[in-house]
């Protein structure tokens, strides 16, 4: 069989052979329908050549025209020019051998782009250079804009440290005009203490040990003030690997630094204040106590030696015991926050409530207070046992103390889970508190709101402090003559 004569049949039966030839061809091939030029095929070699001219090649936007229209199904090919368009814009013109042929009653062209040697290999090199230049032009423009108007300071700096090109931001940051900067080196305006670390990194960059670096450093503003900046530096080399210049980027962090300084100062101040407070607490809990203790001891001694009662001594004794009590309360508050962590444990609420009610039973009966307890036995809180007892004692005795004599008094104690807390409500129908008037000082030390003989204004203050020390919180709702509801939140445990 003569293969040359059978080629047609071979290709007809094996279309992939054709495909391979076209795909791998070094010449560019174009096949197109004559009446609808948008219907065309171009092989990879031509595609690649055309694509490299464009950043984003899409066949839909691509079209072509032939300089001289071809006659119908000519036997011989003619050499003519093809114009390539992208979105109607001419991007190239190429000479090619065109041949017209018909297939299934339709007219087609086939073009072979060989005359300019658009082989895949050299097309690549040639168009790469052109395309790159094109691309560079675009990116250079983008870079120019970015460089000049960017939010970061940017500069090209010579290997010796001279400013070669700076943007507006740098001028703004450092207070110098561009012209002034060009006469300076970065060394001139770097705060001396920060120069060494910058220079040592620069040297490593020059030696090729690193390809960029970043550091926080300080510059002098033209007006003498200090500018804090984050500096990022990279190096530009030519094709032979020789160092050309540095690209520096600067971000002004002066404001952030100032804020940080203010916060640090504030932190230091509050730390000092806290230390003073602790010191004060120690003075209260020890020194004041010992003096007050001496007073009390001496007075007691003196009083015991008196044959008859002396009014002034009696009053002195009373003043002395008040002083002792005050100091006691103060120290209690101080110690509460200091010693809390080790003494917290998981405690069931119900037994504490029951025990407190039991302890107060005679007073409860005396005031005819009806207490209902709705606390699930499974509820447990993280608390200091003594505090929890004291909290219950306080609220229940408050409900007794401030119950209304004119109606049947009740106190409802409910507990339920609320997120990570257990909320315990103490709801009474007692005298109530005018919260608008007294709300702001309800939990303050030595504030009382009823003319009650036992009201000392310490209970709620202590209670609030105990609750807070255990990581909880307290809320109150109240209306005069209607009653009060205290809600306390304590951390839930299992």
């Amino acid at each position: 069989m003569n293969i040359k004569h059978s080629l047609l049949n071979i290709f007809q039966d094996n279309p992939t052979c054709w495909q391979l030839i076209l795909d791998q061809a070094l010449y560019g091939y174009l096949i197109s329908q004559k009446n609808s030029p948008e219907n065309f095929y171009i092989n990879p070699a031509l595609q690649e050549h055309l694509k490299l001219l464009l950043t984003d090649f899409k066949s839909e936007e691509f079209s072509f025209e032939i300089k001289e229209p071809l006659e119908k199904s000519e036997a011989k090919s003619i050499k003519t020019e093809a114009y390539f368009f992208l979105n109607g814009k001419k991007i190239a013109s190429k000479k090619a051998h065109f041949l017209s042929f018909s297939f299934q009653q339709e007219e087609f062209y086939i073009a072979v782009f060989s005359s300019e040697k658009i082989t895949r290999a050299n097309a690549y090199q040639k168009t790469y250079d052109v395309g790159l230049a094109e691309k560079l032009k675009i990116s250079e423009k983008a870079f120019q804009n970015n460089f000049e108007y960017g939010a970061t300071g940017m500069a090209l700096v010579s290997l010796e440290g001279k400013w070669l090109k700076v943007n507006k931001r740098i001028s703004l940051m450092l207070g110098y005009t561009k012209e002034e900067l060009f006469k300076l080196t970065f060394q001139d305006i770097t705060v001396p203490e920060d120069l060494e670390k910058d220079l040592s990194l620069l040297k490593r960059l020059l030696d090729g040990e690193i390809d960029h670096y970043q550091l926080e450093k300080r510059y002098y503003h033209k007006n003498g003030s200090i500018v804090y900046a984050i500096l990022a530096v990279s190096i530009v080399k030519n094709n032979d690997g020789l160092n050309l210049y540095f690209i520096s980027q600067l971000i002004d962090i002066t404001e952030m630094k100032r804020a940080e300084k203010r916060i640090k100062k504030l932190f230091k101040k509050s730390k000092e204040q806290n230390e003073r407070l602790e010191n004060f607490a120690h003075i209260v809990s020890h020194n004041l106590r010992s003096h007050a203790g001496n007073f009390s001891m001496l007075l007691e001694l003196y009083e015991s030696q008196l044959d008859e009662e002396d009014e002034i001594i009696t009053m002195l004794s009373s003043a002395s015991s008040n002083l002792q009590e005050t100091i006691e309360h103060l120290s209690e508050i101080v110690n509460m926050h200091n010693s809390i962590k080790n003494t917290m444990e998981s405690i069931a609420v119900l037994p504490v409530a029951k025990k407190t009610i039991e302890n107060l039973s005679s007073q409860i009966q005396q005031h005819n207070l009806k207490i209902t307890l709705a606390v699930d036995a499974s509820l447990k809180v993280k608390a200091v046992p003594a505090y929890l007892e004291s909290i219950f004692l306080n609220f229940i005795s408050n409900a007794i103390k401030y119950s209304s004599p004119s109606k049947a008094s009740f106190l409802e104690v409910n507990a339920e889970v609320e997120d990570a807390f257990i909320r315990i409500d103490f709801k009474d129908n007692g005298l109530g508190i005018d919260l608008e008037k007294h709300g702001h000082k309800l939990f303050k030390m030595y504030k009382t709101f009823h003319e009650h003989e036992d009201a000392r204004g310490i209970g709620l203050f202590l209670t609030k402090n105990q609750i807070q020390a255990m990581g909880g919180k307290i809320e109150v709702e109240s209306a005069v003559d209607e009653g009060t509801t205290f809600s306390i939140y304590l951390k839930k445990t299992t």
Partner: protein
């Protein structure tokens, strides 16, 4: 009749020392007292008294906050001295700091921690403890 022969008071506060002695007189606490102004003073004298087996106190009332040598340092040194006689040590301080209270509990030789001011009741309790241990 008093049951204690000798009580040792270690405290730097002269008013307290004056007062406690008066209270002691009132309740007839002991026959005599030995006063030291700080831990160092007390340790030096007590160690020589014990060494020579002289008049060893029955009870020591020890303050915590003192100059030169405080109550803690005194305790650490004193409990190392072997004594032929059991000495009842009471820490008597103004501090209600739980840290101090707990720290005292770690000393087996300390009978109790008493918070100032000290009056007749507290001294009577000391006396009672001593009697129970020694005469029952």
């Amino acid at each position: 009749m008093s049951t204690l022969k000798l009580t040792c008071i270690i405290d730097d506060d002269p008013i307290y020392v004056f007062g406690i002695q008066k209270v002691m007189d009132v309740i007839n606490f002991c026959e005599s007292t030995l006063i030291f102004k700080n831990g160092r003073d007390a340790l030096d004298n007590l160690s020589s008294i014990i060494e020579n087996n002289e008049n060893i106190p029955d009870v020591i009332l020890l303050d915590l906050n003192m100059p030169i040598m405080d109550g803690w340092e005194f305790l650490d040194e004193f409990i190392k001295i072997p004594s032929p006689k059991k000495v009842y040590i009471y820490v008597i301080s103004s501090s209600i700091d739980p840290k101090d209270v707990n720290r005292v509990k770690r000393y087996q030789d300390v009978k109790n921690y008493i918070i100032k001011p000290v009056g007749p009741e507290q001294l009577s309790t000391i006396l009672k403890d001593f009697k129970e241990d020694n005469f029952s």
